[in-house]
């Protein structure tokens, strides 16, 4: 097989498994290793996160060492060089502990929600930026500083283009997704950036009207253009990639069923309907547990959703949602503290019970981040078993 043939073959494994109609020739294995792969390659986090040549070596080594069918994260997760051009960022990198922590800092107060709703751009410019960046707050940001930000963003985009091409051409890996537009749902933006976990919980109890106005204003700028672009895209899946679209959500972790129905589901449904109409597939990663919302997904046609559960049981998911393909199943806790035999036994069970008729792709249940999240010997044992499995 040439590299191009192998890359398309690997993409087809994901496509066949996602369809729930065709059993793939073998069960595909995706890497969801994030900062772990930097530590595994012997670098400090700050070294790789600040040097794209080192990050390229890390990603190359990850594939050379383990041999996945697709890599979900190639060094894009913590793009700290862009904000650091302004002097500070919300990521705290601790090289000694091998950890990256994100500071949950709200950029908008509860009493300012209507001001945000009135003009998002003005609010971000005049208040949001000042609350994130000390230099913006004290008025000392210069044109030169902002030029550095633009140049860092350009360097990041160039790195992403380069590493994607290298992994395609030299390692025969398909891109993990080929999104036509990306819609960022307002409530998730509120949760992740604007109000934070605590703030959003307060808003939902204290002044629903103001929260709805703020979400609507964010949706206008960050969700609507994405869904419009998806709607305008030509029909049919991008067969060179594992999936067509990605939907990663975090805010549902604090929602009850009623709040989910009101704030999140209408946008998710709209997106899923367009994807179904276009015959496209989404990887749906709802962090934490999504089990209490599974009822909503029961009528989505086969081939649209590939669900990547973080905390929910994959065997239960298959029983409850037979219309949904599954990506996941490998607990990071087992990779970190189990034996090689236990890890391989887990994969064998997944393959025999969930992969027997298709609809299953193997990956880790969580973003593999910390050194102790996975024992490299366990990862190798799993990768060898997957390559040799002939079920």
């Amino acid at each position: 097989m040439t590299n191009e043939e192998l890359r398309l073959y690997r993409a087809k494994l994901f496509r066949d498994a996602s369809s729930l109609e065709r059993k793939p020739e073998k069960i595909p294995h995706m890497s969801f290793f994030v900062t772990w792969k930097i530590l595994d390659a012997g670098y400090k986090l700050s070294e790789a996160m600040n040097d794209y040549d080192i990050m390229e070596k890390v990603v190359r080594r990850h594939q050379e060492e383990y041999g996945f069918d697709c890599i979900l994260e190639m060094g894009a997760r913590n793009a700290i060089r862009i904000p650091m051009a302004l002097g500070n960022c919300s990521y705290y990198v601790n090289d000694e502990a091998g950890t990256v922590n994100y500071v949950d800092k709200a950029i908008c107060e509860h009493d300012e929600l209507r001001e945000l709703a009135a003009d998002v751009k003005k609010f971000f410019w005049e208040k949001g930026m000042a609350r994130k960046y000390d230099k913006w707050a004290d008025g000392t940001v210069t044109l030169e500083d902002m030029q550095r930000v633009v140049d860092e963003q350009t360097a990041f985009m160039q790195y992403m283009g380069r590493i994607t091409q290298i992994m395609q051409d030299e390692y025969a890996l398909p891109p993990y997704a080929a999104p036509k537009g990306y819609g960022y749902i307002g409530l998730d933006f509120m949760f992740n950036t604007v109000r934070g976990i605590r703030g959003l919980s307060i808003d939902m109890r204290k002044d629903k009207g103001a929260l709805q106005e703020a979400c609507a204003a964010l949706n206008e700028i960050y969700y609507k253009p994405g869904i419009d672009a998806l709607r305008a895209a030509p029909e049919g899946p991008a067969m060179h990639a594992a999936f067509d679209y990605d939907l990663t959500l975090l805010c549902h972790t604090i929602l009850n069923n009623k709040q989910f129905a009101e704030y999140l589901w209408p946008f998710m449904k709209e997106t899923l309907d367009v994807l179904a109409e276009k015959k496209m597939t989404v990887r749906l990663f709802m962090e934490g547990s999504s089990k209490r919302f599974w009822e909503y997904f029961k009528d989505v046609p086969k081939g649209v959703i590939v669900m990547h559960p973080e905390q929910d049981d994959v065997f239960e998911l298959r029983k409850e949602l037979p219309n949904v393909a599954i990506l996941g199943g490998m607990p990071v806790s087992l990779l970190g503290t189990g034996t090689k035999e236990q890890c391989v036994d887990r994969v064998r069970r997944l393959f025999e019970e969930l992969g027997r008729d298709g609809g299953f792709m193997l990956t880790q249940d969580k973003m593999v981040s910390f050194r102790n999240d996975a024992n490299p010997e366990n990862v190798k044992a799993v990768c060898n078993f997957v390559r040799e499995y002939n079920g």
Binding site: L86, D145, V150
Partner: protein
């Protein structure tokens, strides 16, 4: 310090956005390089990235 003040980014909107759109070197395709709307969109997208980081 005096020099810094002279080219300091304007903290009010939309004046600050217009100032940056007029003065930054942006990696836009040649056809859009002089298009003020495209330049403003590029910068506002960058501000969106910065508030999320």
């Amino acid at each position: 310090m005096e020099e810094n003040r002279k080219d300091a980014v304007i903290p009010t909107y939309p004046e600050g956005l217009e100032y940056l759109a007029e003065n930054l070197r942006l990696p836009l395709p040649p056809a859009l390089a002089d298009n003020m709307e495209a330049r403003k969109n590029f910068i506002f997208n960058l501000i969106g990235t910065l508030v999320r980081q």
